[in-house]
Symmetry: C2
Subunit: 347 residues, 2 copies
């Protein structure tokens, strides 16, 4: 289906980080709402109030709706996720998150005790991230017209000096780093939802990455960080393909270098899921100048949320914008976009 015919309907795939979701943006949202900010297709929008507005600094604004199911899972819940999702989008834009908004859509019959747990978890995450929910709204829908609680957060942050990462910033020769193991969040939520009884040591990595990004920025030369993304929906596969497309480059990764924990690897083997397409909620991908890659790696590893950081590959010139994996056996395979996310409602 093409998301172009009037008779089409929304499908679960449209909510994924893969092609169908992208097509929905291209065919529906961008033609109708397009403007210089949306057209950049970054995780947020750099706000530059003009002289009439009286402000000088670059502000960044972002938003994410959260519909994760189940609402509570090892290592987090929808509240922690809603704060971290917004903070991390701002961090990936090179901004320090300052102010959040939160819109709650609650289902009639949802236990208040659960709501309290969720809001408390938001407050805790806000404290850790140094942000405040400065305005909020609540709506309630009838039983059967929602699913417990959905939370949409928006955030505004101030851009950090020295670096201007953007999706279109990757250049041939750049190194590609990931800040730690891949797939933990996706497998955790899947396990909790399906009650698979997998390895109990698997927990979500949901965390605010503002501090990690600031440490990185302080450790490298001005302008060295060319692109950053948090590999949430669609995982590493989705974000690398996004950056490759936006920057007009290719990428080659060393498959053996990609960090996946043993329990996640085992769970993936059992379920047939690929960790490279699973969501992460406390990891980032950094594309940086080659001569700054070691400094970047050390800075990430020195931070609690970046201990497992590794250099996983390199940006190359490639007009096809392919993301390729060098396999441990000397072969090469394509890390393509997924057409549909195998795990809906993961965030």
């Amino acid at each position: 289906m093409t998301a172009g015919d009037p008779g089409d309907v929304v499908e679960l795939a449209h909510g994924s980080g893969g092609r169908a979701g992208n097509r929905l943006v291209e065919n529906v949202f961008r033609p109708l709402l397009g403007n210089p900010w949306l057209d950049r297709a970054d995780d947020g929008a750099v706000l530059e109030p003009d002289a009439a507005g009286g402000a000088a600094a670059s502000l960044v604004m972002t938003t994410d709706s959260h519909v994760v199911s189940p609402l509570f899972f090892p290592g987090g819940d929808i509240g922690r996720l809603a704060v971290c999702g917004c903070v991390n989008d701002l961090a990936m834009m090179g901004a320090r998150a300052r102010w959040l908004s939160a819109g709650f859509i609650l289902e009639e019959g949802f236990p208040l005790s659960d709501l309290r747990r969720i809001v408390a978890s938001m407050a805790e995450a806000c404290q850790e991230a140094g942000v405040a929910v400065v305005t909020a709204d609540t709506k309630v829908v009838e039983r059967g017209k929602g699913d417990g609680v959905f939370i949409t957060t928006a955030g505004v942050g101030t851009r950090l000096p020295g670096q201007s990462p953007e999706g279109a910033g990757a250049r041939p020769g750049d190194r590609i780093l990931v800040s730690g193991t891949l797939g933990d969040h996706g497998i955790t939520v899947f396990n909790a939802r399906e009650d698979l009884g997998l390895e109990s040591s698997i927990t979500s990595d949901t965390a605010p990455l503002g501090g990690l990004v600031e440490a990185l920025f302080q450790a490298v030369a001005p302008g060295a960080v060319h692109a950053m993304r948090d590999p949430t929906r669609g995982g590493l596969g989705a974000v690398l393909n996004e950056i490759a497309r936006q920057s007009g480059v290719g990428m080659v990764l060393d498959e053996a270098a990609l960090p996946v924990s043993a329990p996640v690897r085992a769970a993936c083997a059992l379920t047939g899921l690929d960790p490279l397409y699973l969501a992460n909620e406390g990891k980032c991908v950094v594309v940086c100048a080659p001569d700054q890659a070691d400094a970047a790696l050390q800075a990430l590893r020195a931070h609690p949320y970046g201990r497992g950081a590794v250099i996983v590959g390199e940006v190359i010139a490639d007009e096809n914008r392919f993301v390729r994996l060098n396999t441990p056996f000397g072969g090469q395979r394509l890390l393509d976009w997924l057409n549909a996310d195998p795990l809906p409602r993961i965030c």
Copy 2:
């Protein structure tokens, strides 16, 4: 029920503009998330980036989730509503809306043609209001876990000079103005939802009020506008009681002066609904200094969205913070808070 016991569940009343919704904020959100911005209980948050942030101007941020049912109704749809809701909250804070975010929660199976209509309507409203949706997100939930589409918008605006309206700003002697007829939106949505077949001339007033507010500000002396609110959920009754509570004042209204169109009045008579508690989406309440009330009235009436403006009453000293109506028969009745909104999912 008190929204305080662990065994309580969310009820439809919690989404209303009345007491139960207020209790939810007081018992759940504020204790856990409270900060100087949230505690003011205004429609949005004034952002004042400090020197470290590098910005000087006061920015305002706001958010609203939209779950109106049906999605399309005479005079508007959820898309127009989602833009106007945000723009109007900023206008009521004395800010010119600049940047919006939008988070869409779509139900599997929702027709793309309907989604396109909705997004087109957002774009049209954005153009009219002079704002842009600068960042957006989409999630999809399974059939039966949502209801077509929910839209959460957040907005950031720059504060206009000259006036600093706030919920706590009303003072005894101030005049109370409303910008036009009351109840149109509420009755329209109710009629469309229940298929009552009421008077077809009734349409929603959904409109962006930024221009109206700027015209008002230009017409009155600096500092003359003490409080503004758009009477959405819970209607005039809710917002006047909110302002009275926040400002520590009472109010007396002239019931005969309250503008309600003949078709809305007839529909209310038929359904038993009270227009003073019905939602409006293109009206504002202005509380201003008495010597500026006539200038304010003329400015409102000169604008297309304020043609029906009238002075409806006066702020008085009253430690009970009562809002009273002088009836046409020489009596007086209390315009109390509603405990639960009679019409859920009105916006």
